[in-house]
């Protein structure tokens, strides 16, 4: 098992290998992602029972919660790829980190927007300076910082390293976000989904939500694969295998 993992890791370092194998893997993520998202969305939006307090407006959680979870775990993944790049100098890891940043920022943005849309009928205001909302906004700023830095330096390698260092520093922020609900315990309702305790949510509402979360994770994986493939092509554009791939007839 360990040996197999190590072999996979070493192969991952090869852009060409990644490009070829990801073409095979991509449909295995993309198709289930579409299935899960369609099933989860239809179930959650049309068939799940309405909330007895919030009525139908609660249904936005089927977008809000998965994007919010992903925005946070995407950041962690970006920082981990950055660390792999810093420690083992693996170029692929830098490209993965660069692919994740805009995806994570978009999820973060969607979570904030859907939260605002839900907040208007429920709290009576688009935005409150609650700890959880603020730290989500902060996460978006962190993404912006990393994205700005990933483009700022004069060489691509240095930009990637700077982005990686900043994302690692920012990673300290993730637990603050996660536990802010418990620390400040303000307007935002405490997390309903818990891994260790029984959820306080009704089963009929919970199952579509879990389906949506899985669907969003698969979508996230699909997007990473697609973006990283583009990064591979762009950075390896001078290499023979890419030239062959793009202009097979130019081969002598």
């Amino acid at each position: 098992m360990w040996e197999a993992l190590k072999r996979l890791y070493h192969r991952m370092g090869s852009p060409k290998w990644f490009y070829e194998i990801s073409a095979v893997w991509l449909p295995w993520f993309a198709i289930p992602a579409a299935l899960f998202l369609i099933v989860g969305a239809v179930w959650g939006l049309a068939f799940a029972p309405a909330d007895y307090q919030q009525g139908n407006s609660f249904r936005i959680i089927y977008i809000h919660v998965p994007t919010a979870i992903l925005a946070q775990s995407a950041y962690a993944m970006m920082a981990i790829s950055g660390a792999i790049f810093l420690i083992w100098r693996m170029k692929m890891a830098a490209w993965v980190a660069a692919s994740i940043a805009p995806i994570g920022a978009s999820f973060c943005f969607v979570a904030l927007i859907t939260g605002a849309i839900w907040g208007k009928p429920t709290w009576g205001t688009w935005w409150v300076w609650d700890a959880r909302l603020t730290s989500m906004l902060l996460l978006l700023f962190l993404y912006f910082g990393v994205m700005a830095l990933q483009k700022a330096m004069d060489t691509e390698e240095n930009s990637a390293k700077a982005g990686a260092i900043l994302s690692l520093v920012g990673l300290v922020n993730i637990p603050i976000i996660k536990y802010s609900v418990e620390w400040w315990n303000t307007l935002h309702q405490p997390a309903t989904l818990k891994l260790t305790e029984e959820s306080t949510m009704a089963m009929e509402m919970l199952i579509p939500l879990l389906i949506m979360i899985v669907g969003f994770y698969l979508l996230f994986a699909t997007l990473i694969f697609m973006r990283t493939r583009n990064h591979v092509l762009w950075h390896e554009r001078k290499k023979n295998w890419v030239k062959k791939l793009i202009q097979p007839e130019a081969e002598k």
């Binding site: 910082g145 830095l149 240095n158 300290v172």
Partner: protein, 222 residues
């Protein structure tokens, strides 16, 4: 004399001979504070309500402004290369540079803030909270800021990028610092907030120098 103490001494001497280096952030601090009564409301009751936050925001911005130059000169004139070639640890150098930066920006801000808070009509019982929260908080601002300064030292017009990168990291410190002062003002316990600031200081003292050292090395491969 070790290289670290020599650098600290050199930087302090430079700062002493260029008073602008430590005076400018102070003047900026004063001017930003003056903007709030002018722009919002000079009513003393209102000012005393917002004083805690405003003083902290102004201190944070003043620190941010003084950070840009932290490593610029060392990167440009080759001091950084010499340091690396000497084999001394970059960790120690980072701590030394941050210490000097705090001495010429954070420390004066902390000492002057209670005086300026008078103008903002800060409640009387909040002064010790303001002083201690700044005393614990400004070194964190310098430490985190040093990471940003090291990352952007080689970037042309890095000042704006520096703010963009560092401000989100400052927000937790701002929250706890300002809330300590605010709670002291309304007569509540504020030791908890100071405790959080203290623990943030310990974490950043131990971790940020690694990030600074890593970021500084980026400037060498240019």
């Amino acid at each position: 004399m070790s290289l670290v103490t020599a650098t600290i001494k050199r930087d302090l001497v430079i700062a002493a001979r260029n008073p602008g280096e430590w005076l400018n952030p102070l003047m900026f601090f004063l001017m930003v504070l003056a903007l709030f009564p002018l722009a919002v409301d000079p009513d003393p009751k209102f000012l005393s309500k917002i004083a805690a936050g405003v003083v902290w925001v102004a201190a944070l911005l003043a620190t941010l402004l003084s950070l840009d130059a932290l490593f610029k000169a060392d990167v440009e004139d080759g001091t950084l290369e010499q340091w690396l070639a000497s084999g001394e640890s970059l960790f120690a150098m980072a701590l030394g540079k941050v210490f000097v930066h705090w001495c010429i920006s954070g420390l004066p801000l902390t000492l002057v803030a209670p005086l300026l808070a008078l103008m903002m009509n800060l409640p009387e019982n909040a002064y010790s909270a303001l002083f201690f929260s700044l005393l614990l908080g400004t070194p964190i601002l310098s430490l985190l800021g040093a990471v940003g300064a090291a990352l952007t030292a080689g970037v042309r017009s890095g000042g704006l990028l520096l703010s963009l990168v560092i401000l989100p990291l400052y927000i937790p410190i701002l929250i706890f610092g300002a809330s300590a002062v605010y709670h002291a003002g309304i007569g509540m316990e504020y030791a908890g907030q100071l405790g959080f600031l203290g623990s943030f200081l310990c974490i950043s003292l131990t971790l940020t120098p690694f990030a600074v050292a890593g970021a500084l090395k980026l400037n060498l491969s240019r």
